[in-house]
């Protein structure tokens, strides 16, 4: 063991849901916690409404183009919670019985909707998640609900972590919430972790992990330039007894791959079974006159809709296909979504195009109708087809632009199951929105940057079978005791709904095991912190579960 390296008890890699939740509980329990976050530390007043490269917007997230799949992820203190849309539904019951590509139940036997519900409750309390009312629904959500109803379907205002008394419906959620309406981790778990002594170091990108002679870990990092992420401003090493990996499903397996020469063989499933949560986007161009005629829509100023720019991400989803009696790959949700210009507009295709569909003369004509666009987000059951190739020299991708854009080594070749599910969901979106001439619809093209996910999952997943899961059912990396993975990479497969709630609940569930492992290594830490605001009802429900989550 080096005598010069810095030391901490618990080193957390990443500060999104998986990292922040672990950092809070372990710091509150008495451990010395250090968090390394590759992105900058932006606070509410730093969040600009500005698409210019180099503004807080492009500093806060990361777009990595792979082979057949591109990932949009968070890159800042607070991780994905800063750039997410705060939709927080629980996963449907059938999800936990999915078999996916392995032909048998992919989730650990210990995890089901029933066993996860108390942990969902904890997250619900911690982030003030609430069911929205129709009065909270944006114009876009209202239009989607009206269209669903018109075609004989139901529609649900989403459960969200948003304080609607503060929300101004600016639709800049992907740039961080300037108004502190969105319940990102910057306003709950992270300040609570800091209050208990956790130290957060932004712009620290982990390169690899090695082992000390006495079974602890050394975490090697580079310091990233605060504006141009292509540049490095130093490097260092921290020793820790426990490592919690939460760098995101696009980065956690890459760090582990790069660590293999130092740590020894990784479980087979590290960097395999990646899922894009089955995501896909359709762009509808609404006929304004039809919207008024069919549904009586009126914004009070002569406009029926023309409100693409207004709102707060997704507000309404259709759940009619979330039916557990249906066969796998035929279940999905359809959610109204806002996607800002710049990040995907190029992938929207012209319905009935006679020439090029994603660029050119006809594309420009639909860009002129941008305010009448309605974006629908499909989340199907995919086949965990993604595999990460050899890791890049640093980070999780070869960085191209000063921020935002990189080229990664993820390969994703959709199977017939995935392609069929996408086709079915596309067809239903078309059926709903083209009924009686309301709109013209086309899915985004996959030909340019592959499929596109904002919810990467499963690249280092939990399970019971060592062959197909990198983690045991308590999130510990197989054969590497003391390394835990608590981010989206631990989730075994696509969820058919937005995954932040499930990632957070699984992270909450992993904490008792991490505390026990820390205690076994001599760290003076206990389990039992309340919610970040001091609320205790969630804790009451989970304390009886501890014997099922700690090793005998």
């Amino acid at each position: 063991m080096s005598s010069t390296a810095e030391r901490t008890d618990v080193l957390v890699i990443g500060s999104g849901f998986g990292g922040a939740i672990a950092a809070y509980h372990l710091a509150a329990g008495g451990a010395k916690v250090t968090v390394l976050e590759r992105g900058p530390w932006l606070e509410s007043n730093d969040f600009e409404h500005d698409y210019k490269l180099g503004s807080s917007y492009t500093r806060a997230f990361d777009f990595v183009v792979g082979n057949g799949m591109s990932i949009l992820g968070g890159n800042c203190v607070g991780g994905g919670s800063v750039v997410y849309f705060a939709a927080m539904p629980r996963a449907p019951r059938f999800v936990f019985d999915r078999q996916g590509s392995i032909g048998r139940r992919m989730w650990p036997g210990a995890v089901s909707r029933d066993t996860l519900d108390p942990w969902y409750d904890r997250v619900e309390e911690s982030l003030s998640i609430a069911k929205q009312d129709w009065k909270d629904v944006s114009y876009a959500g209202g239009l989607w609900a009206a269209a669903c109803n018109h075609s004989g379907r139901t529609a649900n205002p989403l459960a969200v972590a948003i304080d609607n008394t503060k929300c101004v419906n600016c639709n800049w959620m992907m740039a961080g919430c300037r108004f502190e309406a969105k319940q990102s981790l910057l306003v709950n778990y992270l300040p609570a972790a800091i209050a208990h002594g956790a130290e957060i170091r932004p712009l620290h990108e982990v390169q690899h992990i090695s082992r000390t002679s006495d079974g602890d870990y050394q975490v090697h990092y580079n310091v990233i330039h605060d504006e141009d992420y292509r540049l490095q401003a130093g490097s260092g090493v921290i020793e820790a007894k426990i490592v919690v990996m939460a760098a995101g499903a696009g980065a956690t397996p890459v760090i582990l791959q790069r660590s293999e020469p130092h740590l020894g063989t990784m479980p087979r499933a590290v960097g395999r079974y990646f899922s894009g949560n089955g995501e896909r986007l359709n762009t509808a161009i609404i006929d304004e006159e039809k919207a008024a005629e069919l549904f009586g829509l009126d914004r009070g100023d002569g406009l029926a809709y023309a409100a693409n720019q207004i709102g707060k991400g997704p507000t309404v989803a259709s759940w009619d296909k979330l039916d557990g009696s249906l066969p796998e790959y035929s279940r999905y949700s359809l959610e109204q979504l806002y996607f800002p210009p710049g990040l995907g507009t190029i992938l929207a295709q012209v319905p009935d195009a006679t020439g090029a569909s994603w660029f050119g003369k006809e594309k420009k004509e639909i860009l002129k109708k941008w305010t009448s666009w309605l974006t629908i987000f499909s989340m199907i059951e995919d086949d965990n087809e993604g595999v990460f190739g050899p890791p890049p020299a640093t980070g999780n991708a070869h960085r191209i632009s000063q921020q935002m854009l990189g080229r990664g080594n993820l390969t994703y070749e959709p199977t017939k199951n995935t392609l069929g599910a996408w086709d079915a969901s596309d067809a239903e979106v078309k059926e709903i929105l083209e009924k009686d001439g309301l709109a013209k619809v086309m899915p985004w093209t996959n030909d340019l940057v592959g499929a596109y996910t904002v919810h990467p999952l499963s690249s280092c997943r939990m399970g019971d079978d060592p062959h197909t899961s990198a983690l045991d059912d308590r999130n510990e990396l197989r054969d590497h005791p003391g390394i835990f993975v608590t981010d989206g990479s631990a989730v075994p497969g696509a969820l058919t709904v937005n995954p932040a709630m499930t990632i957070a609940a699984l992270a909450e569930r992993a904490i008792p095991g991490i505390v026990q492992a820390a205690q076994a290594k001599g760290i003076a830490v206990t389990y039992g912190a309340p919610a970040p605001d001091g609320s205790r009802s969630g804790r009451k429900k989970v304390l009886p579960l501890l014997p099922t989550l700690t090793r005998a």
């Binding site: 619900e124 959500g141 759940w319 003369k361 305010t371 709630m501």
Partner: protein, 176 residues
């Protein structure tokens, strides 16, 4: 001139003058060129600024090959890609960006930034770009922010119930 022609193929605009060769002139109003595509591409923040000369050379080589295949005679007074008619420029970009093309990544990235110059003015502060009448943001109908540069929408929804809830919904709004 070659890169202007490429940008104009991605988001076409109207000619700046009757003599304008780079812009094909198949659309009215400003396109990617007027939106500042070259300014964005040449900014080192994009990471492709160093390779622009190579991309221009390559697309001209591809244009010559394409013209040969199609039996087209190109005007030698302008670069080969510029000499192509708009439908041929489109056809060549479709070929270069098709899955499996060995240079696809480069052409997709070039196209992406050309589009971004129009749809988000990624080289300009958004509020200022809007105030200055940026052709892309104006064409798309983006509204102007409040005086402090932030957007707020007081009226944001219809405020009424539009559909039945799914019968299996929990009290907190999740699938049961």
């Amino acid at each position: 001139m070659t890169l202007e022609a490429y940008a104009d193929t991605i988001v076409p605009g109207q000619k700046r003058s009757p003599e304008d060769r780079a812009i094909a002139g198949v659309s009215t109003g400003g396109g990617a060129v007027q939106a500042g595509a070259l300014e964005l591409l040449e900014w080192d923040a994009t990471g492709i600024h160093d390779g622009l000369d190579d991309l221009a050379r390559l697309v001209n080589e591809h244009a010559e090959v394409y013209a040969g295949e199609q039996g087209l005679t190109l005007d030698p007074s302008v670069p080969p890609f510029v000499a192509l008619e708009y439908p041929d420029r489109v056809a060549l970009i479709l070929r270069l960006t098709k899955p499996g093309h060995p240079e696809k990544d480069f052409w997709v990235m070039l196209s992406l930034f050309c589009n971004m110059s129009f749809d988000s003015a990624a080289h300009l502060h958004t509020a200022q770009a809007l105030a200055d009448g940026h052709p892309g943001l104006a064409a798309m109908g983006l509204s102007h922010p409040d005086a402090d540069g932030l957007w707020r929408f007081k009226d944001f929804g219809y405020g009424r119930e539009f559909a039945r809830l799914h019968p299996d919904t929990t009290s907190s709004g999740s699938p049961a």
